[in-house]
């Protein structure tokens, strides 16, 4: 029994890392611009499909590097053309807009690549288990965790060491003052959005190796991202990271004791957090409005 639990905790960390990657992108956009990006799953799916299409030309590794950037460029364009107009308005409108975009993305991917699942090839070296005992630690999953870790570290470095990052952090606290200090807020929001979408694209490429690749791949991962943000703390990136990991581990443990609650557990956690500490585990005060 203990072995089962240990396995599942490890596995839960892997799954949680993936949730965290998705949720971080969403959180970045939410914190600075106040936009709930319903299309986040759609961008993720696009990232995966773009990687799939690139593979014959660039191979697996090339696609892995290039696809998130291409997705991010698309994100920059979407922000510039559509979302930018909605900042002054009620958050309702950006929600509806991204909602409509999610529809368009899903239908678009179905139109271009077909409703059928498409096979995504991962190089053989990655798809072998690293040990017979810990068979679920395949090369690919470990690679994925490593990549997520690198991405998270890179994100935090950008946020803490670069000027852009500093401005983003300042902006999440008080955008008006940042603007008054002469920072071009438009560009800032644009780049921040692109950064968030980059993470979504990366998550997509990673997911494609793990799951079947079909147009609805994005929609199933949106909810855990939301819950990760709520549990981890609104307005806090470390909180989102923590939230994602917690959800992953909780799901893993639930599978051992109460398999039917594997999904429910994250909603229960959310309910408990809201009851006891509405701003989330690492959330900041005054962030709720």
């Amino acid at each position: 029994m203990t072995q089962l639990i240990v396995f599942n905790v490890f596995n839960g960390l892997i799954v949680g890392a993936f949730y965290a990657l998705m949720a971080l992108g969403l959180s970045l956009i939410l914190n600075l611009s106040g936009v709930i990006n319903f299309a986040h799953g759609g961008f993720m799916a696009l990232g995966a499909y773009i990687a799939y299409s690139l593979m014959p030309y660039t191979g697996f590794w090339g696609a892995l590097v290039v696809a998130p950037f291409l997705t991010a460029i698309l994100g920059l364009a979407v922000e510039r053309v559509l979302i930018r107009r909605l900042y002054g308005r009620d958050p309702l409108y950006s929600l509806l807009l991204t909602f409509g975009l999610a529809y368009i993305f899903e239908d678009g991917t179905r139109f271009i690549w077909g409703a059928q699942s498409v096979p995504y090839q991962v190089p053989a070296i990655l798809t072998t288990p690293l040990s017979t005992q810990f068979f679920f630690l395949t090369g690919y999953r470990v690679f994925m965790v490593a990549l997520v870790a690198i991405a998270v570290v890179a994100l935090f470095l950008i946020l803490s060491r670069t000027r852009l990052g500093m401005r983003i952090r300042a902006g999440t606290l008080d955008l008006e003052t940042v603007s008054a200090l002469g920072v071009n807020v438009r560009v800032l929001r644009n780049l921040n959005f692109g950064l968030g979408i980059f993470l979504a694209g990366l998550a997509g490429v990673l997911a494609a190796g793990l799951l079947g690749l079909q147009p609805t791949i994005g929609t199933s991962l949106i909810m855990p991202s939301f819950v990760a943000i709520i549990v981890g703390g609104l307005g806090s990136l470390p909180g989102t990271l923590l939230g994602g990991l917690l959800i992953g581990i909780a799901s893993g443990i639930a599978t051992v004791y109460l398999p039917s609650a594997t999904e429910a557990i994250m909603y229960v956690m959310m309910g408990v957090v809201l009851l006891i500490r509405p701003r989330g585990l690492l959330g900041e005060e005054g962030r709720m409005h």
């Binding site: 709930i36 308005r89 958050p91 509806l96 409509g100 239908d107 819950v227 709520i230 429910a264 809201l274």
Partner: protein, 316 residues
């Protein structure tokens, strides 16, 4: 709008609705479509009570809609083969859930409130999905039908007769909108408007904001679950997708499309959206792109909705 104008509009709306089963087929519609429009309109208006009149964004109203649907269906299937009992249970269950959840989330605002409503919507979706033995899970709740209504002196066959069912829905619609209008016109309703306009100022005036928002939320979900119960009766069927966030999104777009600041706006929005979706999905497989595009265009160019355009014209 002046008093007579208002009364004329009201009369006009009701005449159109009363006669719908008769003029709709000439436009290529069918009575069931009309019933569907009414049910969706009720749900959208219920949402608008919270969204347009209190200024609080809920993106998870499908949860209460769906709860009403399931409660109604399960009542008829397991407890009592009576349509009225089904509707009653639907409303009770939905409202109770709203009271509970409302209490949990009332401290949040803005996007965070919206996110949490979405998440709770998913919780209920998930429960109906997984609790197979009771709810039928993914296969939905089948094996039951709306029962004829026994009024003692006569039996109204709402099962076989589409028109009879349409009028039943219309009766509930009338009662519900009447109640909503009364509430909005009362001092409580005025307070809600004040909260919408400027929450901080309202707080400074000593108004207990959280309690008002909670009440508004509960009332809104009360009507939404009524719509859901009627929806279940309409289809003789309900399934977990009646609880999903895309349906919630549809309600919001109906309210926005028709005009959030107007009482009847969501009715127009619902009519357009239901008919549009019905039409577009028959014409092309890629209807999702068109509906998505529609959302985008409404948000960018018609944020005040259709009635918003007219209102602006009369105002200027």
């Amino acid at each position: 709008m002046s008093g007579t104008d208002r009364r004329l509009t009201l009369a006009g709306i009701w005449i159109v609705l009363l006669a719908m089963p008769f003029w709709l087929p000439y436009l290529g519609g069918y009575t069931e479509l009309g019933s569907r429009v009414l049910v969706m309109a009720l749900a959208a208006m219920a949402l608008n009570f919270l969204l347009g009149f209190t200024g609080v964004l809920s993106f998870g109203h499908a949860a209460y809609f769906g709860l009403g649907a399931y409660a109604a269906g399960m009542t008829i299937k397991y407890l009592l083969p009576s349509s009225i009992a089904g509707i009653l249970m639907g409303v009770i269950v939905g409202t109770l859930a709203a009271m509970l959840i409302g209490a949990l989330i009332v401290k949040l605002r803005g996007v965070y409130f919206a996110m949490v409503t979405i998440a709770f919507g998913q919780v209920f979706y998930f429960i109906t999905f997984r609790w197979n033995d009771v709810t039928g899970g993914d296969d939905g709740l089948t094996g039951w039908q709306r029962q004829p209504i026994d009024l003692g002196f006569t039996k109204i066959d709402i099962l076989g007769n589409d028109k009879a069912f349409y009028y039943l829905v219309l009766v509930f619609f009338a009662l519900a909108t009447g109640a909503m209008a009364l509430i909005l016109r009362s001092p409580f309703g005025r307070t809600l408007l004040a909260i919408r306009e400027n929450e901080r100022r309202a707080r400074f005036l000593g108004i207990p904001i959280e309690r008002h928002i909670w009440l508004s939320f509960v009332i809104s979900c009360f009507f939404a679950s009524l719509a859901g119960a009627l929806y279940a009766l309409l289809n003789n069927f309900t399934d977990p997708r009646a609880l999903r966030w895309d349906l919630s999104g549809n309600f919001v777009i109906m309210a926005v499309l028709g005009g959030m600041r107007s009482f009847w706006g969501p009715l127009i929005g619902a009519a357009i959206f239901v008919v549009l979706q019905d039409y577009v999905s028959s014409q092309t497989e890629n209807w999702m792109s068109f509906i998505g595009l529609f959302f985008v265009l409404v948000v960018l160019f018609f944020p005040r909705g259709i009635l918003g355009i007219f209102r602006r014209r009369t105002a200027s």
